[in-house]
């Protein structure tokens, strides 16, 4: 098939730089605008903070030039815009009576997260090395999820026991657990996909996999969900469940998993409604938000949701402008409810732009997964994309009363160090996957051994002897999006196939 033309990917780092400068302008401009609108003096702090943020971001860009030249050029600018807007809004809320000094902490955590992401990018080099950590990451996930319910270590805030007190700061281990669980799901399914697909009993139109092939998955999933229910962290439970269903659906391409998942979710929601008082309150608030009795309830009323909706309505089309609204009327306006603050001050135009940025980020994550040639990378990128999009869905859906409101951090926007750290680490991982997807690969002289056209040209290689590797290499660009049935193993993929034998 020598007539085929391969799409050649360019590194496109200069494009990334241009977009980054625009993103930084938006981020730092928003910060300054808050001061203008509130008639606050522009102190040196603004310039120091702005240049710290810009410096960190540009350092990330330089690291990408050095370490992952072919990484996706759109991910970093999108993330920088969102994170910068988040800092600006948190900074704006610090001028109200309800909050103070949160923006500095958020900037500090942003710095820590970017540095952590750079370190991960620098040290990991190739995302396929994570595949060797499949079962270790399962153990780490379990450990992380159990940490908050250990006495002496965990602490409870706002009715959810999801925090670990480190002394100087509190940390939410479930945020990191979503990465390790995604790694486990991806690694496990990449190893056992064929077994799950092929072995099993057929009942009607649905093939049920053998229990022992899926047991580790289900144990991981039940532990995750169980711990989260015990911790009263239903948002994360929903996210882990969605991750599980999405990754297994992508791995097997059987629609029945979605159907089974939906049934399980409804069942789980019914159970939670029966036995978790916290959840029942949330459903009640969701259904009867405007009931005066529920609205005026001292604790666990619908005040927060309804004020959020009023805030969104107050914003209208173009918003009140940064610094001119009253987003602090909503409790937790700088973390769980930050979307309402944006809706009020940037209006529909601004909020829809931000949601579009999330959509673009999701599509870039998925594109990285589509482009890469190893199953593990595909599943990992899809898992991480699903984590992102489910967080946005749970938050925005909760705020707009599509689903009951459950506390989850809006990715990159909300105040909260652990979520920021986890999301930046995810960015580093996806950038690595997209680098693997877009970089030119070195292959043997037989580029495509499928089909009759090429079978005649291969005979000279058969005398190489067993195990001999072709030494002749040539550069050849990666094929674009592989078809769904593509055999996506690669020459580099020599990871051990634990569990298949």
């Amino acid at each position: 098939m020598s007539t085929q033309t391969h799409q050649v990917y360019k590194p496109r780092r200069n494009l990334e730089l241009v977009l980054l400068l625009m993103a930084l302008t938006v981020a730092i401009g928003a910060q300054m605008l808050v001061a203008f609108a509130l008639d606050e003096p522009i102190t040196n702090d603004y310039f120091v903070e702005g240049s710290v943020y810009a410096g960190l971001v540009l350092a990330f860009h330089v690291v990408l030039r050095l370490r992952a030249k072919y990484a996706d050029p759109f991910i970093l600018p999108i993330v920088v815009t969102l994170n910068g807007l988040g800092i600006a809004m948190i900074h704006r809320l610090d001028f109200t009576a309800s909050y103070s000094g949160v923006a500095d902490r958020q900037l500090l955590w942003t710095g820590v997260s970017i540095v952590a992401a750079i370190v991960l990018l620098w040290l990991l080099k190739d995302h396929r090395r994570l595949r060797q950590l499949t079962y270790i990451s399962l153990a780490v996930s379990v450990l992380l999820l159990f940490m908050p319910i250990l006495p002496g270590l965990g602490s409870e805030e706002n009715g959810a026991r999801i925090w670990v007190d480190l002394g100087f700061a509190s940390f939410q281990p479930s945020e990191i657990a979503k990465i390790t669980l995604a790694v486990f799901f991806a690694g496990f399914l990449a190893n056992n996909r064929d077994l799950i697909l092929l072995a099993g009993r057929k009942v009607g139109p649905v093939t049920f996999p053998r229990l022992r092939d899926l047991a580790p998955m289900f144990i991981a999933w039940i532990v995750a969900i169980g711990v989260l229910v015990v911790q009263n962290d239903l948002g994360n439970a929903l996210m882990f469940f969605g991750l599980f269903v999405a990754v297994i659906y992508v791995a097997t391409s059987r629609f029945s998993w979605i159907a089974i998942g939906a049934v399980f979710m409804l069942f789980g929601a019914a159970l939670a409604y029966q036995f978790v008082g916290h959840f029942r309150d949330r459903v009640e608030i969701w259904l009867n938000a405007f009931d005066p009795e529920i609205y005026n309830r001292a604790f666990g009323g619908s005040h927060q949701v309804v004020q959020g909706l009023f805030g969104l309505a107050h914003g209208g089309l173009a918003g009140t402008g940064l610094g001119s609204g009253n987003p602090n009327m909503v409790s937790l306006a700088n973390s769980d409810m930050i979307i309402t603050a944006f809706g009020e001050e940037l209006g529909f135009i601004g909020l829809s732009a931000m949601l579009l940025l999330y959509l673009l980020l999701f599509s870039r994550y998925m594109r990285a997964g589509l482009g890469t040639r190893d199953t593990f990378g595909k599943l990992l990128a899809v898992g991480l994309a699903v984590v992102l999009v489910l967080q946005v869905f749970v938050v925005v859906g909760g705020i707009t009363r599509v689903i009951p409101l459950t506390g989850l951090a809006t990715p990159f926007l909300a105040a909260g160090g652990s979520a920021l750290l986890a999301n930046w680490l995810i960015v580093a991982l996806v950038l690595l996957i997209s680098h693997a997807a877009r970089q030119p690969v070195i292959v043997g002289p037989m580029v495509n051994a499928t089909g009759e056209a090429s079978s005649g040209t291969e005979s000279r290689l058969q005398s190489d002897g067993p195990g001999a590797r072709e030494t002749a290499v040539r550069r050849h660009s990666a094929p674009p999006a592989p078809s769904p049935t593509d055999e996506d193993h690669t020459r580099l993929d020599h990871a051990p196939r634990g569990g298949t034998q």
Binding site: Q7, L15, M22, L33, F36, F74, A318, E458, S483
Partner: protein
Amino acid sequence: MSELAVTVLQFGLLLLLWILILSIIGAQGRDMTISKRSRARAAASGPSAAPGPRNGPPAPAAASHSGPTPRPRPRRLLVSEGPLAGTELPLGSASIMMGRAQECTLVLDDDYASGKHARLFPQGSRWFLEDLGSTNGTWLGDEQLTRASTVEPGDRIRIGKTVLELRT
């Protein structure tokens, strides 16, 4: 600062945000579209992988294949090179174990093959090849198998010094 200036700046921020989004979308170009080649491959690899009607003529690369019509089913396994060259095995619905061990379906008289070296098994209308932890590895085309993988007619399966092919 005057209220007018602040308002102008506010709208400037929103405008800049949208310009950023539009430039991201513009710079992506056709990155999100599925290329002709992948479509052709999807069409060639079977109707199940290529849902929906296809517009336009198939790419030239796909012309040698049968296009969107179902792919011919492999019927025979042919040993094309190695000590057993010329041997043929009909493909049924059962899986085929290959190796030096006597209980294998295809007993390879090959010093470089392991006892139970590899397995070919059918799934739907396609055949999959799986390495069974052999010492010297199983090669499909120029790639060493790391997990079960589909085999199309004409693909070279190399086990030690033996080369096998599926034939229709």
